[in-house]
Amino acid sequence: MTRPPELYACVYVRELPAQALLRLRPELHDKPCVVLEGEPPSESVCAMNTRARLHGLRHGMTKVEVETFENVMVLQRSPKIEAAVRTILLECAGAFSPRIEDRSINGLFVCVLDAAGTEGLFGPPLMLAKHIRQRLRSVGIVGSVTISANLHTAVCLARGLSGGVPVRVVPRGEEAKTLAPLPVTVLGITEAQDETFRTWGIRSVAAVAALPERSLISRLGQDAKRLLQLAHGKHPHLLQPIDVPFVLEEQAELDSPLDDLESLLFGLSTMLEQLIVRARSRVLALASVTITLRLDGGSSHERTVNPRVPTNEKKLWLKLLQLDLEGHPPNASILGVHLHAEPGATSKVQLGLFSPQLPEAGRLDVTLAKITAIVGEGNVGMAVLDDTRRFGDFHIEPFSITTAEPPSAATASPMCLRLLRPAERTRVEIHRGQPCEVHFRSRRYTVERVYGPWLKGGDWWNESIWGNEQWDVIGKAVDSSLLVCRLSHDFILKDWRVAGLYD
């Protein structure tokens, strides 16, 4: 099998600090925004959006200089968010090739993909470049993509792209010709080299490429050979691929402390959208979302929402998060939000023509969350019987639709005991060791039949004592109303209770 010819795609994102902060805040896209870095008072502009550049703001301006402009949104640089966005971008690039090299430097995101042999999947190089750029747009980042057979040519070309050209493909063998008109700075030269070239009157890459190799090396040293190779588009490179992470995380810092959950949901909506886009691109769905709220005072509040089936419906997720946070509100103002999602397989349920109608999973989740908000946690779900005969011999588990085979329906109609929680205290008259009269709910019942007693409770292997006996009693009141109940007699507390009614 022949190895496909080399092809590299370079993803180049400028102004990363600004783009990282603004991608989850669409309301700021129409405003001039600058990002400051450094310790106060010597803060300076490190990144900005296009609007700010059009207003005349430049890199390196101090805060005081920035304040002379009107309506400029000033943001603080956040290395944490930048790192998270860098991971997201790498993951985006990873969808096109498993071999990726990260060449990011301060304030810039540069990564190179080994795109050799991907024509069958993504079409010609131009289509691939457009796909990559579209993918970056979907996560809220604007970047440029260049494709070339030489890795360094792709990177140098990406550095030199200007005039709103987001995508450029260098035809094979025309690397030197494509780089020729670009300024010499795209070759990544040092300040000293820049100074030297300036004194020589060399401005473009074409001028560097025309210099004689031996003379240049004798004047600039061995690095001159690299520059010449770069200028000719022939500098070799051994790609050092990295492991592409896949972590579904989004975080945002709030400008001011927030108390209102409704307002928080607006931000959550954008973040969830991003998570869903990223999960969907891998044909996955969100299985669970953990929201961590950074609160005023240094504490944090964490909640996890798990619907029955993984889903990519934003509305459903928002509703579930809203209901959960309303049920468990944070106890202080919110300063920051962090979302972490676990991916799961997208579920496609094939329903049969004759299978019974079942609740729709998404709607059921919202309904159960709403009911939980009404009746309280632990009061909704399916009962699971425990392997015991004690009082409260069950526990509640979250309700889910099962496809297991059901037990066969009972043929005879059994007698059922309606349990009273808590058991109602009653007064019982005893005659010859058996109940003869029961006072229950302000009525006096004369006992007609009595069965028992049965001792209940107690373990033979420890010091617990058998202090509970039960009687099944059928009584009739004066107005002929009937009482069929289970009486519980506690020896230790010496009280009688009605544990349940046969109904």
Partner: protein, 343 residues
């Protein structure tokens, strides 16, 4: 000669002004039902509880409403359908439901009005402090050891002890010096009988109204969600005066929603509150003892009466001259205890 169909047409047209379509059998509308699993009752109500409609089981406390509803649910879950039990008084018994054949994995249980957690302790523990279990230290005698290994060892150190006893310090008179012997502190052992959690009680009346409101809201949500083949609304332990205050529009809304989602809504109550919104209304009489055994509680017999049933099939559209045979309006059966075998 005219054919029989021609004769029939002629007779019908002649009688048309008195009996419209006298000889044509009426069109039968097949209404879907779900059997309750109780033979006599299914026969009485022509198959079972209606689908897409509301059924009301009315009766006093101890009249067998819950047993009947669970029997119905066991039939629904056996058909792999999903149902819900909205428990307004928190009296549902999962163990009994399981014994009745209900698949608990297909039953959503909503407990309303649970505002307190009371942990009942049926096995009490009586524990003693650990000091009681440590052996008492051996009392040292005069010779420092009680029983010696040999009688001759018992006198060991006796002379020294006598000397010490007769020393000045011991013999000196102490006059009226108060005798300061530490008084032993009385030890009390309390059994661990107190319940572990303290419950905050709210007035019963307020609790009941809250529970009813919660139950109605939950029922609304579940009916709107759809997909639940049966929804049991259990007001069996709620007093009549509370249930009777529920708006009639609520029941009408449920009826319409049930018709749209094809759910069977079963209402258990002490008072017939749904009025015309219920398609089937059954009144259960108090249970009676079967008197089969003296020592073992074997079962109770139930009696039900149909108070209201819509869309009953009329056998013919001809009004007969004589009084037609009347259908039975009540049924009897026996609820057996789960510990009793087949008889």
């Amino acid at each position: 000669m005219a054919s029989s169909s021609t004769i029939r047409f002629q007779v019908e047209s002649a009688l048309a002004h008195r009996f419209p379509s006298a000889l044509t059998p009426p069109a039968r509308m097949v209404r879907p039902v779900v059997p309750t699993g109780i033979g006599p009752l299914d026969e009485l109500v022509q198959g079972g509880f209606p689908v897409g409609a509301m059924t009301e089981l009315v009766g006093d406390v101890c009249s067998g409403r819950m047993s009947l509803a669970l029997s119905f649910l066991s039939q629904v879950t056996a058909a792999e359908k999903v149902c819900a039990w909205i428990d307004a008084s928190n009296t549902f018994n999962p163990a009994a439901a399981s014994a009745a054949g209900v698949d608990l994995r297909r039953l959503l249980w909503v407990r309303c009005g649970v505002s307190e957690t009371v942990s009942e302790q049926e096995t009490r523990k009586f524990t003693l402090p650990p000091e009681c279990f440590t052996p008492k230290p051996v009392l040292k005698g005069l010779h420092g050891g009680g029983h010696g290994t040999h009688p001759r060892n018992e006198v060991k150190g006796l002379s020294a002890a006598v000397g010490k006893f007769l020393s000045d310090e011991t013999v000196r008179a102490r006059c009226a010096e108060p005798f300061s012997k530490p008084r032993p502190t009385p030890q009390t052992f309390e059994p661990n009988l107190r319940p572990s959690s303290t419950s905050v009680r709210t007035p019963r009346r307020g609790r009941t109204y809250d529970a009813v409101e919660q139950a109605l809201r939950c029922a609304d949500l579940l009916i709107q969600t759809g997909g639940f083949s049966a929804i049991i609304l259990d007001f069996g332990e709620i007093a009549s005066e509370v249930v009777s205050r529920i708006d009639l529009s609520t029941w009408h809304r449920y009826r319409v929603a049930a018709e749209q989602t094809q759910a069977s809504i079963v209402l258990l109550s002490q008072y017939a509150c749904a009025k015309s919104s219920s398609e089937l209304q059954l009144r259960l009489s108090p249970l009676e003892d079967t008197n089969e055994e003296r020592t073992v509680f074997t079962g109770l017999s139930a009696h039900v009466e149909v108070m209201r049933q819509r869309f009953t099939q009329t056998p013919s559209n001809v009004v007969p001259m004589r009084k037609p045979p009347q259908r039975a309006q009540d049924a009897r059966w026996t609820h057996r205890a789960s510990w009793v075998g087949p008889r």
